[in-house]
Symmetry: C2
Subunit: 318 residues, 2 copies
């Protein structure tokens, strides 16, 4: 167990992920209310909005208003998602986001073709273009990522060797531009990972690239989110994306196939109980998860928001 980190960094993606997914409409003021509440929990990284095409993602038609409206808390990084130059320009125009770049490759060519009508070569060319775009705007490039790193609904298992090759490709692409990303994210985009495959793939990546800092983006579609995070901890991974309440997923059959992220407060609960520091106040975060449920108007998947923290129970005992 000696590889288990003593401190874990959580990147909260609940607002961006949740309001993108929810049918809504959800009032802008309530989106801002959620972000402001998250800012008070000790989280130091919150992805607050998605600057994407409102015709395709109506839930984020008000991204500019949301970003203009929340209160920046010192010490917290506020980021957003964009998929192209237009989105980036909107994010920069807001003038109050922490703009950082990332570039990624996708481990399944079938998925690329089906979802984006792109080949792997197109994907590599796009990564170069992305880097050029950030460099032109003087934006730091901190993160590189591999999507569908554990498996793909259109292709099945992703061979470990392919992931290793893609990491090398990301390193090579970065090097051409004089860039070395700080963090490499392995994303379980279609929820194929299990604790066993997390251990196997992360183990191989660590053996080949012992100096890379890895992060995990886990989905809970098949209930493995927390167990996968635990396997990641055992393999020394100390950075996780997560969403408060499990925003982005929903226990209703009507939302079938919803690929909810691993739930922030359930993850923080496990980390707290393992003695791993996060800087986050779990009981405050549980209140925010309950607020998130109120805002979206239906139950969210997280468990600790109902079961309660043990810290609260212990406090009553002593």
């Amino acid at each position: 167990m000696s590889d288990i980190p003593t401190r874990v960094q959580i990147n909260e993606e609940g607002p961006r992920e949740g309001f993108q997914f929810e049918k809504g409409p959800i009032p802008t003021a309530r989106k801002i209310e959620l972000i402001d509440a998250l800012s008070e929990t000790g989280l130091n990284h919150i992805q607050v909005a998605s600057f994407v095409n409102p015709a395709r993602v109506p839930g984020w038609a008000d991204a500019d208003e949301v970003v203009a409206g929340f209160r920046r808390k010192p010490g917290v990084e506020y980021t957003a998602l964009w998929l192209n130059l237009k989105g980036l320009q909107r994010a920069m125009a807001a003038g109050r986001l922490d703009i950082k770049g990332s570039f990624s490759l996708t481990a399944s060519e079938t998925f690329l073709k089906r979802n984006q009508q792109r080949t792997l070569d197109d994907n590599i060319r796009a990564a170069h273009e992305t880097i050029r775009m950030y460099k032109e705007h003087g934006i730091p490039l901190e993160r590189a990522g591999i999507m569908a790193a554990f498996g793909c609904n259109f292709e099945g298992e992703v061979p470990h060797q392919r992931v290793l090759d893609l990491i090398q490709a990301l390193l090579d692409i970065g090097a051409e531009h004089g860039i070395t990303p700080k963090v490499f994210s392995l994303a379980d985009t279609m929820a194929w990972a299990t604790p066993k495959s997390i251990r196997a793939l992360v183990g191989k990546v660590r053996n080949r690239y012992p100096d890379l800092t890895l992060s995990l983006h886990l989905h809970d579609t098949r209930g493995m989110g927390i167990a996968n995070a635990y396997a990641g901890l055992e393999m020394g991974v100390a950075i996780y994306d997560a969403t408060v309440g499990g925003l982005g997923g929903c226990p209703f059959a009507a939302h079938k196939g919803a690929a909810g992220n691993v739930c922030t407060e359930d993850l923080v609960f496990m980390l707290d109980e393992m003695g791993i520091e996060t800087g986050i106040d779990l009981d405050k975060l549980i209140e925010v998860a309950q607020l998130a449920e109120d805002i979206v108007g239906h139950p969210l998947p997280g468990s600790v928001k109902m079961g309660g923290s043990l810290k609260a129970l212990r406090a009553r005992l002593h």
Copy 2:
């Protein structure tokens, strides 16, 4: 990872646990429908009913009718729960259950006092009485258990030494009656366990009693169920109680504090993907989880019943 078992035994407790918890009323025929459907999944152990006081547990007022009505499938053990001689006699009178005895101690005296107005000495006396009752009726005693083995809402953390002492007490109690239970169950009755505490406690128990066969009874109240089962697997535990769909819990705030068991199909999904045999057909089990949801009339916590198995996806790819 060498301790991970190659085969896992799952004891399905969904019917008993679920219908005890649900507000209902649920028609007897539908309870029977669930049991019969479970019988077709490859599960070999199903707890079908609870013979308890109908005034206290109205959901099981029809236990006799349910037990009279389901179809016994060869190769499947059908058990029930009872808490006293009267319940046992009802279970025996049914004439079609696999009656096996168990005895247990509780690791928190505060919990005993609050819940049953008993001391630990009372608890030990009761274990002797339980054994005598089974011996008088010629019933095999196969299982011993420790309730609240990981923590207690009224007492906090349970010291590992106390659990070790209680295992010794169970062995001593059994020995006085010439009984050696086959399986020792550690129950996380109030959902205090985390992967870390599972590893720590199971490790100590195995060190002190290397020949005991352990089983885990896990609750998912704080979202740790699957991760805890995974930690149990890493420690070599090969027997788990579980409930289809996560019956006994519910993602609605109205059922706050529901201590749902770990979800059978989510557990089977993880085991399948780890290459661990269970004898259970996951896709059939997912259909039964959806049936369970229909029977109780609200969403149940399990995830794979919405996310789908990977086996089904792979079959479509090839």
